[in-house]
């Protein structure tokens, strides 16, 4: 698959949130205002890009030669946890306001299945280093896109007269469902039409 194909695939066609339903926790949790949603989006993009690159290296330079591929999941989790810790420290150091806005959801990227998902998917699709990195970045951008749309809608919803029992989370779930259906418009046929 070409690089453009990979980008379109992971941003639109198999969007991690709206099509594969991975990483939903921050999607609902941090989408209350646009600013922190964008911050979260970029943090996840960064972690996903870095994680897919590092896990690719571990897969092909450590696990595969030693014949211990069955350790994939556990080592990937280890790598991701360490990376997230590192990102957390960096953000706390260089951008304290963002650190505060992200709050508990930043360490929760550790267990975000989108990050582990992209690592496993890249390996399974036997991408090379650049392709894995690109898949990671575009997966993160897909996340960013989804959470950006979601937070914009939720900010608008705040000023709407939502029935009391639908306020906050319930209406957010319904919105997410509708968004997910809208993203069904992006499918493999579209990719074929676009890049042949």
């Amino acid at each position: 698959m070409s690089y453009i194909g990979i980008i379109i695939t992971y941003v639109f066609i198999s969007n991690f949130i709206l099509t594969q339903f991975l990483g939903l926790c921050p999607f609902i949790g941090v989408s209350k205002n646009v600013e922190s949603a964008v911050g979260m989006g970029f943090a996840v993009t960064f972690v996903m890009g870095l994680a897919s690159l590092v896990t690719w290296a571990i897969q092909f330079y450590i696990l595969a030669p030693l014949n211990v591929v069955f350790l994939q999941t556990i080592t990937f989790i280890l790598v991701i946890a360490a990376l997230v810790q590192f990102v957390e420290m960096v953000i706390q150091k260089i951008a304290p306001p963002l650190y505060k806005a992200l709050g508990i959801y930043l360490p929760l990227i550790t267990t975000n299945c989108a990050v582990l998902g992209i690592a496993l998917i890249s390996v399974r699709s036997s991408y090379n280093a650049i392709e894995s990195f690109l898949a990671g970045i575009s997966g993160g951008l897909g996340f960013l896109l989804a959470i950006l749309i979601m937070s914009t809608i939720r900010e608008k919803l705040d000023s709407e007269d939502v029935p009391k029992f639908f306020k906050n989370i319930p209406i957010a779930f319904i919105t997410a469902g509708l968004m997910s259906m809208a993203f069904m418009a992006f499918d493999k046929a579209l990719l074929k039409n676009l890049i042949g």
Partner: protein, 266 residues
């Protein structure tokens, strides 16, 4: 086979060690210094993370005090006067610590034997769920629903069922975090002073005759308590007696005279 086990062991241990050491080094270079006052404040607060102060937890409140966002530094009700004093010492300000300790109390004695039920509720065990169905299964719409939502939110396990299907608060354990008051749909859980001697254990604002039909221990608003203990601070409003605890008169006569015996000792 043995090789595989060995490789698995070595590779994961090495990776773990590598990342661990890497993080330790990173932590040293990227260390963000915390102010001493802030850590002191975090230590001074009790650490229940109950949220009674209105902040996400103890450290959030400590931060708010430290940054001057929280103007009131006496909001920690579990800690009470002692914590407030400690916080005041750290922040080097003077405060008035005459706050009285309050505890939650279930203002209802209408249990299995005394209250009448309108229908049988077989929904999920949650007071708010039951309340959304005709305001609960009792004829009285003000009482304790007895499904234990307060028991589940209590951070210190101070609330338990009694043998009547009602709940009781252990006032020694209660940290006055207000969470049970917030979760209770009928508003029967209210805060009273820790030192209160007598409590009107009813929340029914229905007229006397209506209350009498619904429950044998409901306050009927007969004003007997007002007459028998004029200095006790009793006041009937909406057919329900309430005690103003700033009045210090005796309340025993009223409790003895109450025809439905809903004035009980705390």
């Amino acid at each position: 086979m043995l090789n595989t086990i060995l490789y698995a062991f070595i590779s994961v241990s090495l990776l773990g060690a590598f990342f661990g050491i890497g993080l330790a080094i990173a932590a040293k270079y990227l260390y963000v210094k915390k102010e001493k006052k802030l850590t002191d404040l975090e230590e001074a607060l009790p650490g229940y993370n109950c949220g009674a102060c209105g902040y996400a937890g103890c450290s959030a409140y400590a931060e708010a005090i430290f940054n001057g966002i929280a103007e009131d530094i006496t909001l920690c009700s579990p800690g009470g006067a002692e914590t407030a004093q400690k916080v005041a010492n750290i922040m080097e300000v003077a405060i008035d610590v005459s706050h009285e300790k309050k505890v939650a109390f279930v203002h209802c004695k209408g249990g299995k034997d005394t209250a009448r039920y309108a229908f049988e509720y077989k929904g999920i065990t949650d007071c708010n769920a039951a309340y959304s169905m005709y305001q609960g299964n009792k004829v009285c719409k003000y009482g304790c629903l007895g499904l234990g939502s307060c028991i589940r939110v209590c951070p210190v396990d101070a609330i338990a069922y009694d043998n009547q299907g009602l709940v009781v608060v252990d006032k020694e354990k209660c940290i006055s975090c207000n969470q049970c008051v917030t979760v209770c749909p009928s508003g029967v859980m209210k805060m009273i002073p820790y030192t209160a001697d007598y409590v009107v254990a009813c929340n029914s604002k229905d007229k006397g005759a209506v209350t009498r039909k619904a429950c044998t221990v409901g306050c009927i608003g007969c004003k007997m308590c007002e007459k028998k203990s004029p200095d006790g601070g009793f006041k009937i409003e909406n057919f329900l007696a309430e005690i103003d605890y700033s009045a210090n008169g005796e309340r025993k006569n009223a409790a003895d005279a109450c025809p439905v015996k809903c004035i009980v000792t705390n």
